[in-house]
Amino acid sequence: MPQILVENLVKTFRVAERRPGLWGAVLGLAARKQRSVEALAGVSFAIEPGELVGYIGPNGAGKSTTIKVLSGILVPDSGRCEVLGRVPWEERRAHVAHLGVVFGQRTQLWWDLPAGESFELLRDVYRVPAADFARRLDELVALLDLAPMLRTPVRQLSLGQRMRCDLAASLLHAPPILFLDEPTIGLDASSKLAMRDFVKRLNRERGVTVLLTTHDLDDIEALCRRVIVLGGGRVLLDGTLESLRASVTPERWLTVDLADGSAPIDDPDARVVSREGDRVRLAFDPGRVAPAALIARIAAKHVVHDLFVENPPIETVVAKLYESRSQ
């Protein structure tokens, strides 16, 4: 039986709309216009124990809403949802005791207390036996390199340090399920790598089920075999990362910094996506032309200062997916 089961989840928010200008503000005092926003329009999926699933989609697609429903914070309008056999919002306390959640843009640590004291508070809040707590904290301190931060007030930590502490805080009660909502947002490259490495080990070695929402496709590529793509409150695709790319576009991007950015590029296998100053972005299909061959051809015709090959950003892939599905 799946550990996380979601069937036909629907959630609509009512949003007050303000009319523009001063007169609009005055009118708004008397009568508010309301608009319905369908955050989830029938989302279904199932996740087995030990899976590491990427949950992606553009802003407003309903990712965070799903996480909040799964965490028992939001009550959906309709649909079924069970996590470890419990309906999250009906048995909130029992449910959250088996759950770790990290919201990348928020912190669960007490701002004015050292991180270590927040951890001790969480030990008592989750009723973790002292011996288990000491052992887990030692492990987390070693794995996430937290030792220098334990005695520092959280407000003095850098974002990367704070996120590591937040991650540790969500794992002190050894939850079998971890929700990560944009855990790498705003982190520098090395912090991102450390974070990914840790999550991967947690999943492989401890069998912790991880549901990860992110805008960073590199997160997904580094971690997840399975992705669920959300758009407009619906599941657009549920499958492997390869199937996502293949179903949308096989394209990759070649970005080149040229001596003359306005130079026309006419290559049968490359298409210009954008130009910013001297930086030109080309799309190509690695199935038709080898990247090395394309680079050689471009470099033969133009003065190239710098270049790199990358995957189109998730927004582009999902936008294409969204276009193709809505046609």
Partner: protein
């Protein structure tokens, strides 16, 4: 430690670390203590009619009022207000604890820690400069202890209710501030409640606010005799129960319809 004791203890330690605030608080509270005392002294010098309170009771009422000043819920729980505005309150819902009890515990620390830091100088001023002694009888002393304890719980219940009201609107501080203004006036922080006109006394008696400060102070001075005190304490406890029930119902509804935007 139970989760709730842990919350009290963590919040307590945090509040105790603001030494500068405590020092500033002692200075302001001393200043306002003298100001209130001078105003009331001038008032007694100008009046010839017998008043609802004896002039001899005034120093104890003023200085113990200053000592317990931070116990009166005339401010928001700023941390919860900030959490609600930023959406970090979401993490509170992710804890396997009773949210009301957890917020009540926070309020308990908020209303006791500053008092412990600041009360002693006020009591010393009262005793050394104004010769304020213990309550008139052992009965009054016991009743005072019961009444201060009840006032503390009443204050916590009101603090949580105000916090919960902020869940309902994005910046619910407007409604909250109104309530806090009532607290300010009708708890006895400005002038002792017996000095309010006769027609207001019924209103004052049936509001919960007098139980926050005025009742324990008047029991201390003997203005409320020990024999009558149990009725006043019962009313404090009654209001505490009412506010706790109200707070629980409002919190349950507030959480159900809460919308945590973005993120």
């Amino acid at each position: 430690m139970t989760p709730y004791a842990a919350v009290v203890s963590a919040r307590f330690r945090m509040l105790l670390q603001y030494r500068a605030a405590a020092l500033a608080g002692i200075v302001t509270q001393t200043f306002f203590g003298f100001t209130r005392l001078m105003i009331l002294t001038a008032f007694f010098a100008a009046t010839t009619r017998p008043q609802a309170m004896a002039p001899a009771d005034i120093p104890a009422y003023v200085w113990f009022g200053q000592a317990l000043f931070q116990m009166v819920p005339w401010t928001l729980d700023r941390e919860i207000a900030a959490q609600i505005r930023s959406g970090d309150v979401i993490y509170e819902l992710l804890r396997p604890v009773d949210l009301y009890a957890s917020w009540f515990s926070r309020a308990f620390a908020l209303r006791t820690a500053p008092v412990l830091l600041r009360a002693l100088p006020m009591v010393l001023i009262a005793a050394l400069a104004f010769g304020v002694g213990p309550p008139p009888s052992v009965g009054s002393a016991v009743a005072f202890a019961a009444s201060v304890t009840s006032a503390l719980f009443l204050s916590c219940a009101l603090t949580v209710l105000v916090s919960v009201s902020m869940l309902r609107t994005v910046s619910g501080e407007g409604a909250a501030q109104t309530l806090l203004l009532l607290v300010w006036v009708f708890s006895g922080l400005v002038i002792p409640l017996p000095f309010f006109p006769e027609w207001m006394q019924t209103f004052i008696r049936w509001c919960p606010f007098s139980g926050l400060l005025d009742v324990p102070l008047r029991i201390y001075t003997g203005n409320i005799p020990a024999a009558d005190a149990s009725w006043f304490v019962a009313r404090q406890l009654g209001w505490t129960v009412v506010l706790v029930v109200l707070g629980r119902v409002a919190l349950k509804r507030g959480v159900r319809r809460m919308v945590v935007l973005g993120g």
